[in-house]
């Protein structure tokens, strides 16, 4: 502006001073321009790592969240399934609880001490005690229905059964009498039937004398029966098998 408004002021010292000023201004402008370029470049240099770091953070988040979201699915159907399976097998409910019965059922406990059946747990013959004791209204059937069948499962004479184990011939050991008539399953002791010591020839029926109000012995747990039933157990002249 000053240069153009005053073109005709050519005084040598002034012109020289003006020229120097002009040069200085030009140099300043160049320095400013260079500084600006340097600043822009520096800003670019600074901005790019920032962008990179921000991008890395976003990518890390995507990767991490994605892996986490996939891990549940992978854990359900993939390799880490095994501990879940082991745990599911371990946590299954127990049905046979072992021999805890005798704490309450002390009468049975007393009679069975030392008996051959004392080594059995109660649940071997009775049902598993998972539901016992249940609700009071819910009577749990602990006794098997077919008692004879329970005994014979173990004690019927069977091929391959060890000879030392107590076994009976089904058709020779008081057939039809019923095991518990003579044997207490808890003590497993047997009452040997009394022999018939008197002759049987020319006599009326057993129940003629052996009756609830008869003249001879008649245990309270017996019932009047035909002779064949009596003689099945009370064999004359033998102690029974």
């Amino acid at each position: 502006m000053t240069r153009r408004s005053r073109p005709r002021l050519p005084a040598p010292p002034v012109r020289r001073a003006l020229g120097r000023t002009r040069v200085a201004l030009a140099r300043t402008r160049v320095v400013l321009a260079r500084t600006r370029v340097a600043l822009v470049r520096a800003a670019r240099r600074v901005r790019r790592p920032l962008v990179v770091v921000a991008g890395m953070m976003v990518l890390s988040t995507v990767l991490g969240v994605g892996a986490f979201a996939a891990s549940a699915f992978y854990g359900q159907y993939g390799a880490p399934r095994t501990p879940i399976s082991v745990r599911s097998w371990s946590e299954r409910p127990v049905t046979y609880l072992g021999s805890d019965c005798r704490g309450c059922h002390s009468a049975v406990s007393a009679t069975s001490a030392g008996a051959p059946h004392a080594q059995l747990i109660c649940e071997s013959c009775h049902v598993p005690s998972i539901d016992h004791p249940g609700p009071v209204a819910d009577v749990v059937q602990m006794l098997p229905a077919a008692t004879d069948e329970q005994c014979l499962t173990c004690h019927a004479r069977t091929a391959a059964r060890p000879a030392a184990f107590a076994q009976v011939e089904l058709d020779r050991h008081y057939p039809g009498a019923g095991c518990v008539a003579c044997h207490d399953p808890h003590t497993s002791s047997a009452v040997t039937p009394r022999e018939v010591t008197h002759p049987l020839a020319n006599l009326p029926a057993c129940s003629t004398c052996h009756a609830p109000l008869g003249l001879k012995q008649f245990p309270a747990n017996h019932q009047v029966a035909p002779d064949a039933v009596c003689l099945a157990c009370h064999r004359p002249g033998a102690s029974g098998p």
Binding site: M56, T61, L63, V86, V94, E123, A156, P162
Partner: protein
């Protein structure tokens, strides 16, 4: 900044659009400089590490509100045990109570074809062959089962209780195509019913016939039909410190179970002091179920 992109040849030049500029074999379509590789690695590795950290953090955060530890599994150290099983064929009376107990305890179907344990009566026949019978898997005992007609008079006859041998070198775990059957640290072989596809390979591969496929029905061990099932040594009882159900109910102590890592356990003492044998040792499966008193001809 952009030096690499400027000096790198343009992508179009190396794409196989022009046949004359097709890249040589084995060279990437997009040329990538060492500097670019390093740059990608410098960015990618921290990204993966950061992703891993975020994954761990999310896992930790979501796992924190579920501190419930299973009371059984937490107390049970599988690696500390090595379970062994002994079947005393001399003592066994063939009553079948073990089969009943197994089916009751584990919800196994009641028929003979689907069973985890069963009792065989092995008899030497007149012609020297071994007759094997197992009526209804022996669940009702043998009281009403006559010897087979081919049995020789006075021939040797034995009850042989059968169950999964929990082999140390088990064919079933090898053949499973989906890894659904596996061996735990204590040696028991289990089946993951969630992974089993019911292909039946293991059923066929087992040389002891110990496996079956769970049929559809009210009584199933796992509630999943079509998957393989077999004896687990009553794993739920063992992890609680109890004996398997069949061992528990055996009236004559013919089945014994214990830890072979404990030199004082009953099975350890028996196997140390008495001669025993395993079934089909020639297969090299190294069963964990050992038999006492098994006759040579009946083994």
């Amino acid at each position: 900044m952009t030096d690499e992109l400027e000096t790198a040849p343009p992508i179009e030049a190396v794409e196989p659009a022009g046949a004359q500029t097709a890249p040589p074999q084995g060279v990437l379509l997009v040329p990538i400089s060492r500097r670019q590789v390093l740059q990608i690695a410098a960015i990618g590795v921290p990204c993966l590490i950061g992703g891993g950290a975020i994954f761990e953090a999310l896992t930790a955060v979501t796992a924190a509100p579920q501190p419930e530890i299973d009371p059984i599994v937490a107390r049970y150290d599988a690696a500390a045990h090595r379970w062994g099983f002994v079947v005393d064929t001399v003592a066994c009376i063939g009553c079948g109570k073990c089969v009943v107990a197994c089916k009751t305890e584990n919800g196994v179907p009641l028929d003979a074809e689907h069973t985890r344990t069963w009792i065989e009566r092995r008899t030497v026949g007149r012609d020297g062959t071994v007759q094997v019978e197992s009526p209804e898997a022996g669940v009702d005992g043998f009281a009403h089962a006559a010897l087979p007609a081919a049995a020789a008079d006075g021939s040797v006859s034995q009850f042989v209780a059968r169950l999964c041998m929990q082999c140390e070198l088990s064919p079933c775990t090898v053949v499973c195509p989906v890894g659904a059957t596996y061996r735990t640290a204590d040696g028991v072989i289990l089946v993951d019913e969630a992974r089993c596809i019911g292909c039946g390979y293991c059923v066929v591969a087992c040389p002891y016939g110990a496996r079956y496929l769970v049929p559809a029905g009210a009584r199933t061990p796992t509630g999943v039909a079509g998957v393989a099932d077999k004896c687990t040594f009553c794993y739920h009882r063992v992890t609680r410190g109890e004996q398997p159900a069949c061992v528990e109910v055996c009236p004559v102590g013919a089945r014994k179970f214990g830890d072979l890592n404990d030199p004082g356990s009953e099975v350890s003492v028996i196997l140390r002091d008495q001669p025993s044998r395993v079934l089909r040792p020639e297969l090299g499966t190294r069963p964990r179920v050992h038999y006492l008193g098994l006759e040579d001809r009946l083994a």
